[in-house]
Amino acid sequence: MPRRGRPPIEGDMLQGTLDVLVLKTLTLGPAHGHTIAHAIEHRSEDVLQVEHGSLYPALHRLEDRGWIASFWGTSENNRRARYYRLTPAGRKQLETQTNRWDQIVRAVNRVLRPATE
């Protein structure tokens, strides 16, 4: 995962990937950073090792664009934690991003495994 360096660049695939994963995770309901990080790891069956720190700039960026909103709440362990939830704009964005992702995957697959028959 890219960590160092510059703020997001539109079209940067990996950067965008983290964003879409965060949005997807939040469709299940509001969650705080720690939960989101672990959720992504679990659901990708530990293939996607998110460096958890990089999540926070991403969360900040998504909130800045109005795709997610945040509030302070209490975690399952009774600690104060900052929760994030998906906004309607974020839901629409997730759809767009998912479609785009599918297109890319299909395109890449066509190149890697051309139809043989």
Partner: protein, 896 residues
């Protein structure tokens, strides 16, 4: 990014910190639950998250405008540094304020006098129409500040030109506002009826002149200037219809011009404008309207769209032979007529107005701009030196910053921010000081008799200039030290830690060069100051050939008394007799002009039938003139009351004239004629006396031949009288009593007084300006350079404490230490003097036209300047040298 986030980013950062803490708490709890011991749980959590500070920083920068943020940080950092070193800050800002202030002030004058366009629509279309070439000069009567055309010439050009949408004429003169007695002058303009239309000036009240107001034999009407209207009439809105008294004649006021219009000649603001057709009302029988040999007008044309200045010029030049041939004055002798027909009329750009100031002071302003530029350069060199010292003192800090990963660019930015701050504050202070200084300069050049009006309002050009100066200065004094400071090898800097013994001579290389430069440039300015001061002294102490103390001139205008021509000589005598009764008055004599009095009269002599090739200066004086002015009678006699129109024409010549025209022979008894108006009988003058030489119109000129005619033999006396009055009493008391005595003869007279000594002083205004300002700037440069050398020597002594301590421990005595330090300073001084000496001679050549009675490379001046500079700078190095000699070896060595 939302702006609110930018302003609340500190609070945001706090929230992020808490959020990250909460993550760590959750992760540690999870790890503990998986059975890890506390330490391992914590470490694993941190490893999982990454560096929390780094994350916060990333989010923080997302909330800010990177470049501005950095700049703002740097500026605040710079401000903190300056606050912590107030002495440095004050010295630096003051030095720079003086440098930029002087430059801005002079530039403001240059801008106002030369660059700014007239406040009228489309000024670039305006051209100055005038005689551009007169190979053998022009003959006739010249009045006003821009006597380029006569009225007959103007009318013909106006009617025949095809390149202007309008051609207008203007002339300047002084009107007397008083109803009688001592004069109250107002700046007047003669203008043709289309003047305001052609220029595009709008009225602020009433209406302006129309062509119908300017017809031959018109009644007196007037248009007032805005400032005059405010001053004299309190801005009365119903001004039209009121009357203004000009030279005792009532003129109906038509209206007032707009606020920003001051006329067309830069440096003067008109009070009252009257149509040219009213000239005979004021001037009377000597009106110039029909005389092609009375030069009192300038022409202003507005180019038709699409016509260039060159096309207009070509057309005017093409039609000038015909126009000139038509307008030859009947009073011209054959030679004058030939010269007249050889003149060329043409056009010059006039978008920025017309000004005799440019001719008089243009070169002076250039020289002064150069001088102030050099002062600024010296100031910058000084600042650069200070900055080098500070950068060196901060060498360790800079090295630490670089070592822990600051980029070089960032560190340079920080160092430059401090310079930028100094430059900004210094320039702001400089601009403020310039306002005061430029006004002082204008008042210096202005006088009661010739008040100057220069619009010094700040405009974008002045601000642009000041900003350019500041930025250049900032880069010059800030960038080099910053570059140098960040180039040091880290290891050396960290180890040396700013406490090193002797950091090597070459490290002072640039700073030494800067001091040498300062000394050299200061020498140039000091030499310049001395040259100008000695020029002024030469001119004020030279013998002008006459006494100027206790002498005044009085001009008595009795046109309103209506004395017939035949009775004027007797009337003049009554006035002179009246003045002789004034207490304290020792002598009164009539004179056409006085030396350096501003009026000229020259003509060619005819001796033994041969016309002399060069014109000779003339004066017409009454009995007692030579005695009143202390001009010695060498031989023969003075004029007396028996020299009248009925006796033989007599003349007195100066010694220079006697030498030039009658070499070796006794001039007394010889006779000559004056080349007269063509066709007129030429009277012969018999020389009855020889007097000592006097200057005529300019102190800088050598004694030239001068011929005096007897005022009492004038066939056509004017309705005014000029006299010289020698008095023992105080000037103010004399003029008051003289006015009473004159008004007792007749009440309807206007009188104007001039102190001859003031007149003389005023003729040297330019020299006084150059001497005063170059003296001031030379002193300033000397001061700054001295501070520079003192600073460098003190710094070097401080850095070499240990070395000096070792030397003294090894047996060097105090005097040898002092010698060592002073020798250092002497070396720098010598290098500076050598470089500066060469520069001075070179710069002096450029200023040769400003010098009188000495040469640019005058060795005595150069020697004096060098001695002064050497004395001052060696004194400045003596103090640090003494400090070095007091170094106690044990203390110095223990410090290391």
């Amino acid at each position: 990014m939302r702006l609110t986030r930018f302003f609340r980013r500190a609070r945001w950062d706090e929230e992020r910190a808490r959020e990250l803490e909460s993550y760590l708490a959750e992760e540690i709890a999870d790890n503990l639950a998986r059975g890890l011991p506390l330490d391992a749980a914590r470490t694993a959590a941190y490893r999982k998250l990454g560096n929390p500070t780094r994350i916060r920083e990333e989010i923080y920068t997302m909330n800010s405008f990177g470049f501005l943020e950095t700049l703002w940080q740097d500026v605040r950092y710079g401000a903190r540094l300056l606050r912590r070193n107030p002495t440095f800050a004050i010295v630096a800002i003051l030095t720079l304020a003086l440098g930029t202030g002087a430059n801005t002030a002079i530039f403001q004058l240059v801008n106002a006098v030369r660059l700014r366009t007239l406040p009228v629509p489309a000024p670039e279309q305006l051209v100055d129409v005038r005689v551009v070439k007169a190979p053998n000069g022009r003959t006739g009567t010249f009045n006003g500040r821009w006597p380029m055309l006569s009225y007959p010439l103007y009318l013909r050009i106006r009617d025949q030109q095809q390149t202007f949408s309008g051609l207008t004429a203007w002339g300047s003169m002084y009107f007397d506002l008083a109803a009688g007695g001592e004069q109250r002058p107002a700046q007047g303009l003669w203008v043709s009826g289309n003047f305001f239309d052609v220029l595009g000036v709008r009225p602020a009240a009433g209406r302006l002149l129309a062509p119908a107001d300017d017809v031959k034999g018109c009644r007196g009407v007037a248009v007032l200037g805005h400032a005059f209207w405010q001053r004299e009439y309190g801005g009365d809105p119903s001004i039209s219809g009121r009357r203004v008294l000009l030279d005792g004649h009532p003129f109906d006021v038509l209206g007032v011009t707009s606020r920003d219009f001051y006329g067309v000649d830069v440096g003067h603001r008109f009070d009252v404008a009257v149509p040219i057709c009213a000239e005979p009302i004021i001037v009377g029988e000597r009106s110039g309207l029909d005389r092609p040999d009375t030069w009192f007008l300038g022409g202003i044309g507005r180019l038709k769209p699409g016509i260039t200045l060159e096309q207009a010029h070509a057309q005017l030049a093409g039609m000038s032979p015909a126009i000139l041939a038509e307008t030859v004055s009947p009073r011209y002798a054959a030679a004058d007529a030939k010269d007249y027909r050889e003149m060329v009329i043409g056009a010059r750009a006039a978008g920025s107005g017309i000004s005799d100031l440019r001719r008089t002071y243009g070169d002076s302003l250039n020289v002064l701009l150069g001088v102030t530029g050099v002062v600024l350069l010296i100031a910058c060199a000084n600042l650069a030196n200070l900055m080098f010292a500070r950068a060196a003192a901060r060498g360790r800090e800079v090295a630490v910053r670089l070592a822990i990963g600051a980029s070089r660019r960032r560190v340079i930015g920080q160092l430059l921010a401090e310079s930028l701050l100094i430059a900004t504050i210094g320039t702001a202070a400089g601009i403020a000081a310039a306002q005061w200084f430029s006004r002082f300069l204008v008042s210096f050049l202005s006088s009661d008799a010739n008040p100057l009006f220069v619009d010094l309002a700040l405009d974008s050009r002045v601000f642009g200039f000041a900003a350019g100066v500041a930025i250049t200065a900032c880069v010059v004094f800030g960038l080099a030290p910053a570059l140098r400071a960040t180039r040091t090898s880290l290891g050396v800097a960290l180890k040396a830690g700013g406490r090193g013994s002797t950091t090597g001579r070459e490290r002072f290389g640039v700073r030494r060069a800067l001091v040498v430069l300062q000394v050299a440039l200061s020498l140039v300015l000091v030499v310049g100051a001395l040259l100008f001061a000695r020029t002024l002294r030469n001119l004020t102490t030279l013998d002008p050939g006459f006494r100027d103390d206790g002498v005044l001139t009085a001009e008595i205008d009795f046109r309103k008394v209506n004395v017939p021509e035949a009775a004027r000589s007797a009337f003049n005598q009554r006035l002179i007799d009246a003045l002789r009764t004034v207490p304290g008055v020792r002598g009164v004599a009539q004179a056409f002009t006085t030396p350096i009095g501003g009026s000229f009269w020259n003509n060619r002599l005819v001796i033994g039938g041969a016309v002399q090739p060069r014109s000779t200066n003339f004066n017409a004086v009454g009995p007692g003139y030579f005695e009143a002015l202390g001009i010695g009678l060498v031989s023969g006699r003075d004029f007396n009351d028996r020299d009248t129109t009925r006796s033989t024409r007599v003349a007195i010549v100066s010694e220079a004239a006697a030498r030039a025209f009658f070499a070796g022979r006794n001039p007394i008894g010889q006779s000559f004629e004056v080349e007269g108006e063509s066709g007129q009988p030429q009277p012969a003058f018999q020389i009855v006396g020889v007097v000592a030489d006097t200057k005529y119109s300019d102190l800088r000129e050598p004694f030239e031949p001068l011929v005096y005619l007897a005022a009492g033999q004038d066939e056509h006396p004017a309705p005014y009288l000029r006299v010289v009055v020698r008095t023992d009493a105080d000037m103010a008391a004399t003029t008051a009593a003289a006015t009473r005595a004159i008004l007792a003869v007749h009440a309807a007279m206007a009188i104007k007084y001039q102190d001859v000594r003031t007149q003389l002083a005023r003729s040297l205004t330019r020299e006084r300006l150059m001497a005063t300002l170059s003296g001031f700037f030379g002193g300033l440069a000397l001061l700054i350079a001295t501070i520079g050398l003192y600073g460098l020597m003190s710094y070097m002594v401080a850095r070499r404490r240990m070395e000096i301590g070792v030397r003294m421990a090894l047996g060097a005595d105090a005097s040898s230490v002092v010698r060592m330090i002073v020798r250092e300073a002497g070396g720098l001084l010598l290098a500076g003097l050598v470089v500066g000496g060469g520069l001075s001679i070179y710069a002096g050549r450029a200023a040769t036209s400003f010098l009188y009675g000495l040469q640019a490379g005058d060795p005595a001046t150069l020697a004096l300047a060098m001695t002064t500079l050497a004395a001052v700078t060696l004194l400045a190095s003596w103090i640090p040298a003494m400090r070095a000699a007091r170094v106690a070896p044990t203390t110095a060595l223990r410090e290391e």
